[in-house]
Point group: C2
Chain length 610, copies 2
């Protein structure tokens, strides 16, 4: 799933040169290989999701694997045709959020955006669990440790993203090609066999308590299997990454993606039926197929490794894609602008860590089980599909070009299918976690709208878009809080003298004898030093440092009009980090009080000590 | 345990008027009542600690309760005599830390200080668990919830201290007098009875597997029982709180404390022997005594409540005492100066919360059981006693006044007894938690010394104690980072013009087309506005905001000598807290980079939006 793919050249890390020139852009073939990663990865869990639902009706139910897969392939064809149209209509990319923003209004586009955010998060969890399932299918002794393995893979992906690697779409080509090649070999060889080479000697998880196959079961199998369709929209989102003529090349890549994915899904499902495979605890359906078709030899391990690497890369794309989406939302004032800040790695890191934390929670919540997460994942994806296609119907109705009715019908049909799938998955998995999505999605939309209103209010107050009044110059008084005499004091007064028309040092004095003694010592030293700056004493009965200074600042502001009051706080900054604990925090206390109680500008001078 | 008692008038809260005048100071009687709280409170757990050890040798062992108590009373006499001498020698108070600093060198004084810190922390935990034990003895149905009750009491004490109540030593007088009175009534009535009125119908926790009473068992019982002596030193630490003649009055109060405590301990132990009491799960020995002596009536409940309140107040004294000790250590440069900051409640709150958190951890660790914590508590107390008395031996040897040999002998004898007690408790309880103290104490001393060395280094660099060079005035250039045009920009330039001889607005520009368009819009608006300030464009290939600005600042500092460069960062500050999330953090990013890479003064102007 890469609803908003990382565009080649546009990297999540902050310090890469921007995309320049046509040379780096993608041909149809390269684009297909680079952008189909997520769609291909879903082959690893899509067929399994179907088999798992049908297994509830025993062997009879499993017989419906192929028909259900054919229905999904039909939906795939509709979606691919639909997204060909999206590519033509939205050559700047942007996916369902862009379509909905143009044709369905702000709120619907926010629903699409919210579902995309959820998908990015769930994609990480699903891809990691499925990747680990591929690994534990090859090495069953690791099955008990799967949650830890998932967290380890997540940590690895997170670490790589924290480092901010310069990732290029081309990196994805090799594993994608290896994976597709392996699956095709698997399918072809399997078709020539009458019986499986190997059969997994584990207990089947078929419960078999349902023997009649109802419509609802088939619908559920269909809806679960639709998770195999995630990633179909990736190419439509990345049209600007293609070489000119962009639309043509992107459309060709989209069709190629649909064809390859469809063949793989149907091929695998034929083999599942032929070898009478059943869901087995601890061994994925794909691993069983590899075993059955190729035998338990090096080829089996190649497929498992290729699957695992592809899935890890698929998880990685979320880390690239989510920031791009959040940036779009922030630019439209639906998220704090910090997400649109195109600079300085720190912000990016927070995003990576937040995504990793939520994904880790999902991994633990699911116990490392892909099949718990897939339905949740599917809900968001289908909501996005549905919104995009309803938007396209509006698009065609508005445009009324040649054959618009046919195009609108196609998109409308797709919308109905994916909408039904969304409802079926949500209803059937409500108790198993789908409630989480049902609660979270509206909350996200609400948050987006609240942020948007707040920005509108702030922009109004700031007079954004109007020329502000011209700046002027005020008399400047710089107030320097002082408590003892040292090189720091000298530095502070030099800085203050350079900034202000007038400088006043202030010190807070308390009535207690020890403090009074300190004050007298300071007064004597001050007189001896004679810096040409008055030392104002602020008597304070209560033991407070910040308040008397803030009160003095307020007082100066009130009694001396047209005066700009600045408080200059000088602090020692030791070079070693731990030594910063030794700072007395007077500066922080004063800054806090002045900031809270006054409008004065606060200057902080840090005096570096080696 | 109040090794450094809260002196009446000197309060932990930061905003109280300081102590003034003799009128508020204590007479001998008031001082005794006010400062004996902790010592009296230890009656609630001291005798129990003896009985619990001796119970290992069955009824035969319990027969040694009185002899062991008499030995402890003898030690009490030695300690009281010793502290009378400390009062005379150190009329300014300060306790074992002060004695050790004067006579035993810095490191030993730090050992004393470290053990005091541990004692303050453990005192909270011990007093709370013992207080709750008094409560659950009265209401046995609450026994299962004791950990939660302990945490509730701790929360209450913490909340009261966070509010920063103006506590006065006089507040302590009433509960102390009620408690002492009740215990005396209990003892006197008990002495007139031949058999207990009531006997608790619970199972004895006597294991009875040891039947011979060895020297080691007696030593252990002695060492455990010595926990009853905690608090004896409180008066010696608070001599300045007494009315003149201070030393005489304080000495009289100390002797009174010793006498009352000794009579209580011996009286209770006579009753324990007479009634053949045994340690019982869930009912404290003191509660059993009340039951036996007074019967299970209102008098019993009065004693339990008085005990509980006294213990809660005893826990409360740590919250007052620890900050005073930390302040002393911070003044001597052994702790970060923030602990000596006599102002602004925030700092005090951190201390209260830290103490509460560590105490809560100890409560949970001990499972709310006083007898797990008492030995740990005793170690620190005895280390303090021993250090103080060894210091006093040195004191007399140095002074060589009349009868110095006798005085030195007395203190030396006390030092040996308490030193042996410390070793016995540590060895016998090593596996049960004493290892924690053995590890923590040296670490504390190490931390104190490390901080001290760092301050010496910083003071040297700062030229503390020398008159610094006079301040001068430099040309001032104020740099204002700008990204768009609004009322905020106008405010920023006004502030900058007031502060600087020259103002330059800077904006970072990136090569990407969208950014370039934004830049052109800004340039046009700037030209139209014409603020009289140049807009410097900092081209940056990489997506970084802070670095180009920091590089420009460095560049200006390097090429324009005798110029003080100031970076003025203007930020919007919405009034609602949550809206602060909407800030784009550009200011923080720029401030971070400038602070890291340059020595420029950073000014932050916050533009309040309503």
């Amino acid at each position: 799933m890469t609803v908003l793919a990382v565009q080649p050249g546009e990297t999540p890390a902050d310090e890469e040169p921007p995309d320049t020139g046509e040379r780096h852009r993608l041909t149809a073939l390269a684009g297909f290989a680079a952008l189909s990663l997520d769609a291909m990865a879903s082959v690893a869990y899509g067929p399994e999701a179907i088999v798992l639902v049908l297994a509830a009706a025993g062997a009879h139910g499993l017989g419906f694997t192929l028909p259900v897969t054919l229905a999904i392939a039909a939906l795939l064809a509709v979606l691919v045709a639909s997204y060909r149209q999206v590519i033509a209509a939205f050559p700047d990319g942007g996916g369902s959020y862009a379509v909905a923003k143009t044709h369905l209004g702000a709120r619907t586009s926010l629903v699409a955006a919210g579902s995309l955010v959820l998908d990015y998060v769930l994609n990480v969890a699903v891809a990691v669990t499925a990747g680990v399932a591929a690994l534990t299918s090859a090495f069953p002794s690791l099955y008990g440790e799967r949650v830890w393995l998932c967290l380890a893979v997540l940590t690895l992906v997170t670490a790589v993203n924290l480092r901010g690697i310069a990732e290029s779409a081309r990196v994805f080509i090799v594993p994608t090609v290896v994976f597709i090649g392996s699956i095709f070999v698997l399918i072809v060889i399997g078709l020539f066999r009458d019986a499986p080479v190997n059969r997994v000697n584990s207990e089947s998880v078929v419960t078999g308590n349902v023997t009649s196959v109802g419509v609802l079961l088939l619908l559920k199998a269909f809806a679960s299997g639709c998770s195999a369709l995630t990633g179909v929209e990736a190419i439509a989102n990345a049209v600007p990454s293609f070489r000119a003529p962009r639309v043509k090349r992107a459309q060709r890549a989209e069709v190629a993606l649909g064809a390859v994915l469809g063949v793989m899904l149907i091929g695998l499902s034929v083999l599942i039926s032929r070898f009478h495979l059943q869901p087995v605890q601890g061994v994925t359906v794909l691993a069983q197929l590899a075993d059955a078709s190729l035998g338990h030899n090096w080829a089996f391990y190649v497929i498992q490794f290729a699957t695992m690497i592809l899935l890890a890369l698929s998880a990685n794309t979320s880390f690239g894609g989510l920031p791009v989406l959040l940036k779009l939302l922030a630019r439209d004032n639906y998220l704090p602008h910090v997400f649109a800040l195109k600079a300085d790695r720190q912000v990016h890191r927070h995003g990576v860590l937040a995504l990793a934390a939520v994904s880790a929670a999902l991994l633990v919540f699911s116990g490392g089980d892909t099949n718990t997460l897939v339905p949740l994942f599917a809900i968001g994806v289908f909501v996005g599909f549905t919104v995009a296609q309803v938007g396209m119907v509006r698009h065609w109705r508005g445009e009324r070009g040649t054959g618009w009715r046919g195009k609108a019908l196609l998109n409308g049909f797709g919308a109905v299918l994916t909408g039904v799938a969304a409802v079926v998955v949500t209803a059937s998995k409500f108790d198993d976690g789908a409630w989480l999505i049902v609660i979270t999605l509206p909350l996200l939309v609400l948050a987006f709208e609240t942020v948007h209103r707040a920005y509108a209010h702030i922009g109004e107050r700031l007079g954004l878009g109007r020329i502000p009044e011209p700046p002027h110059r005020d008399r400047s008084v710089v107030i320097v809080p002082v408590s003892s005499l040292s090189r720091l004091t000298s530095e502070a007064l030099t800085a203050a003298a350079s900034l202000g028309d007038e400088v006043r040092a202030v010190t807070v004095c308390y009535p207690d004898p020890e403090d009074r003694a300190n004050l007298h010592a300071l007064e004597r030293a001050w007189a001896q030093w004679d810096p040409g700056v008055p030392l104002v004493q602020l008597a304070c009965e209560r033991r407070s440092l910040g308040r008397p200074i803030a009160a003095y600042v307020r007082d100066v502001s009130a009694t001396e009009p047209d005066t700009r009051v600045t408080v200059l706080i000088a602090e020692v900054e030791p070079v070693r980090l731990w030594q910063r604990l030794l700072q007395n925090q007077r500066g922080a206390v004063v800054a806090h009080a002045v900031r809270r109680d006054t409008d004065a500008v606060i200057c902080r001078l840090r005096f570096r000590l080696f």
